[in-house]
């Protein structure tokens, strides 16, 4: 299966919310939609879910316009969508039945998922008595009740403790391994980095950057290296030394309190020139690596630069 979002634009009244959003995801892939609050992530997802139509552009599934009610799709809205006053099993079965499952299938599937997410004990209680994190897990179960081919999760990690986040990550990874298409939005970069092959960073309704995470990181890190010092005290001298090399255009101390080192922007030279120069100078260096920014840094960089 291949889901294509082609050139989507959307405005509410005067306000242009999305402008030319494009991306493609195939079965067994996960795509992360990143963006600051209000960037247009949820609007993009809602257009895919056909909650409202785009002003222009289209969403195709295997080359044909998508029809959300005829395909097997699981959707977890940003602001959860469950009945607080109904019992957990009751509503899970209801949502599955709406998707066409028989009651027996639905109950079996619910029990399986409840067990998978350690929620079996809450099977017969009202949803509102559960903690926020546990409600979130029930919401995930509701999303997966129909064994969807496409899973769309809007901010799935918000409100989860680390243990539950881990559990959710495992489940999402299983979905990917089972060959489902997974699209999710988040502003928690560490989760995205862990299992998204592709990301789309949306800023002000436009794509700031998109592609495979490794490619983005490579293109972003060209000609930068991290040089780690023996200890924090040696950093200042090291920086001075490296700054003196002819092929270095810029040096910067690593901002992290717990890491002693310098980030070096190389001018005409390569990383091997830097290593050689450091060795020749006998500098107090623990190691040298190509600098790899975290996704968060890339994100902040792109979204701040644009706005």
């Amino acid at each position: 299966m291949k889901l294509e979002v082609i050139d989507i634009s959307k405005s509410f009244g005067e306000k242009q919310v999305l402008n030319g959003i494009n991306f493609t995801v195939s079965s067994g892939e996960a795509l992360g939609l990143l963006g600051r609050n209000g960037a247009g992530k949820t609007t993009t997802i809602r257009i895919i879910m056909q909650l409202f139509p785009p002003n222009s552009g289209e969403v195709l599934l295997d080359g044909k316009p998508i029809d959300i009610r005829s395909i097997n799709i699981g959707y977890m809205p940003e602001e959860r969508g469950l009945y607080p006053k109904k019992k957990v099993l009751e509503q899970l079965v209801y949502f599955a039945e709406l998707k066409g499952a028989s009651k027996a299938e639905a109950v079996a599937r619910a029990d399986k998922l409840l067990e998978r997410l350690d929620m079996t004990e809450y099977r017969g209680v009202k949803l509102e008595t559960l903690s926020k994190g546990n409600q979130q897990k029930i919401q995930l179960i509701a999303t997966l009740m129909c064994d969807p081919d496409i899973v769309i999760l809007d901010e799935p990690f918000s409100g989860l403790d680390p243990v539950n986040a881990m559990l959710l990550k495992d489940v999402v990874r299983e979905c990917i391994d089972e060959g489902k298409i997974v699209i999710f939005s988040s502003h928690q970069m560490n989760y995205i980095e862990e299992f998204c092959n592709h990301i789309v960073i949306i800023n002000d309704g436009q794509i700031a950057v998109s592609g495979a995470i490794t490619d983005i990181k490579h293109s972003y890190t060209k000609n930068k290296a991290s040089v780690f010092a023996e200890n924090k005290g040696a950093v200042a001298d090291l920086k001075k030394l490296i700054g003196g090399f002819g092929f270095v255009s810029e040096t910067e101390e690593i901002a992290d309190e717990n890491t002693a080192g310098v980030i070096v922007t190389l001018g005409d030279g390569g990383i091997s020139d830097l290593m050689k120069a450091l060795a020749d100078a006998g500098a107090p260096v623990r190691g040298v690596t190509a600098y790899e920014p975290s996704l968060a840094e890339i994100f902040v960089d792109y979204t701040e630069a644009e706005s």
Binding site: P53, R69, P77, G81, L82, Y83, F95, E97, L98
Partner: protein, 416 residues
């Protein structure tokens, strides 16, 4: 269709399992069972006279005769007039003494008869429905006439015949007897009003809570809005109908079962509802329910927070109250076949109640009933479709309360 039944079942079962539904139904059923069995219970536990609610002891009434009436005849007349629950006797006490006696509670009241047409009535408390004074007047007039006739030389038999004369009458009603139908019509309209309001508002709050919890977003991506709206409205409607049938069924069966023990005229007229009226009640209940449930549902889907619900359903409630008031005024005014009333009985929002009143109390040609029902049925269809559209569009209408123009824009069809 499968989805419709899934929604229908979910809503119906949800409603039937809800505490409010169970408690209200149970209270009403038990209450009705008690009411219709009261006669039987009285006979079983209270003997032939039944229970005597209120005062246990007879009301003591003292009579002081200062007039030319014959003591014995006067006492006999008073005893006939105050037969049940009164102990009437003559006294020699003066008016002042009698005042003290009544005040102290040794007697409940006293009548000092000063002349054949003049008396003083002494009483401690006058009850809300106290008719004693009128009865005394009657007794006095009767005594006076008796005296006058006796003085003019009439025999005792002739006097008794004149005073005891009765009128035989027959009434032939060619249309409807409103004195007969008023009571049950009033009660039927009251019940319809309450049940329709209850279930209409239930639909509104159910939609509003689905919206505020964002369940709607999941529902709408799984199923067509038409299925969701019709399933919900029909599901709650069936629960309402079931409740109505349970309550009225208990009442009818209970009444038939206990008929011979019930001597309350009001209850008898109430259960004397003609079958045709009962059938029309059910028909107009169903039509009225759909008309209002759809409007309430649409209003509910425009809400973003449940707190705003009361404001948004107000227009619908006003419409409904207007229909209710129109039907009540029509009933009390007795002009149920007037021009205004006839027009109202064809307007979909008024018709369920107003036409029912006309059917119960007026003389409506059958074709008018048929046309009114047809108009209502078509309105149900139109309102259902519009409501599903508003529901569909309302999913994403969060934030400010929607303006009228926004709502009108929504009414245009949406493809998704």
């Amino acid at each position: 269709m499968k989805q419709f039944f899934t929604v229908f079942k979910f809503e119906l079962i949800g409603q039937l399992k809800s505490k409010t539904f169970i408690v209200i139904t149970a209270i009403l059923v038990v209450g009705i069972l008690f009411a219709v069995n009261l006669g039987r219970i009285e006979k079983v536990f209270g003997g032939e006279d039944g229970f005597n609610f209120g005062k246990d002891e007879d009301t003591v009434m003292l009579i002081k005769n200062e007039s030319e009436f014959n003591d014995d005849e006067l006492l006999a007349t008073f005893k006939t007039m105050f037969s049940d629950g009164y102990k009437v006797s003559l006294t020699d006490k003066t008016q002042d003494q009698l005042k003290k006696t009544v005040k102290s509670g040794d007697a409940d009241s006293a009548v000092v008869i000063k002349a054949p047409l003049e008396y003083t009535y002494i009483v401690d408390t006058v009850g809300m429905y106290d008719a004693d004074e009128q009865i005394i007047n009657q007794a006095m007039i009767t005594s006076y006439r008796y005296l006058a006739m006796a003085q003019s030389g009439m025999s005792e038999e002739d006097i008794a015949a004149v005073l005891g004369a009765t009128v035989d009458s027959d009434v032939i009603v060619t249309g409807k007897d409103q004195t007969q139908s008023f009571l049950y019509t009033y009660i039927i309209i009251m019940i319809l009003y309450m049940v329709l309001l209850l279930y209409g508002q239930f639909v509104a709050s159910s939609v509003a809570s689905e919206k505020s919890t964002r369940c709607m977003e999941v529902l709408i991506t799984s199923s067509k809005p038409m299925n969701l709206m019709f399933g919900k409205v029909l599901g709650s409607g069936c629960a309402g109908l079931l409740q109505l049938v349970l309550i009225l069924g208990t009442a009818v069966v209970g009444f038939r079962f206990n008929e011979k023990y019930i001597d309350n005229e009001m209850l008898k007229s109430l259960f004397g509802v003609p079958t045709s009226v009962a059938v029309y009640t059910v028909v107009f209940f169903i039509l009225g329910y759909f008309i209002y449930a759809f409007m309430y549902g649409a209003a509910g889907s425009l809400v973003s927070r449940v707190e705003d619900l009361s404001t948004l359903i107000m227009p619908v409630t006003f419409l409904f109250m207007a229909a209710f008031l129109a039907s009540v005024f029509g009933m009390t005014g007795g002009s149920v076949d007037g021009t205004l009333y006839t027009v109202l009985s064809f307007l979909p929002t008024f018709a369920p109640l107003v036409m029912l009143v006309r059917v119960c109390m007026g003389s409506v040609p059958t074709w008018q009933i048929a046309v009114s029902i047809a108009i209502q049925a078509v309105s149900v269809g139109v309102l259902g479709v519009l409501c599903a559209r508003i529901y569909r569009a309302g999913v994403l209408l969060y934030g400010n309360k929607p303006k009228l123009e926004d709502v009108l824009k929504i009414l245009k069809p949406v493809n998704t």
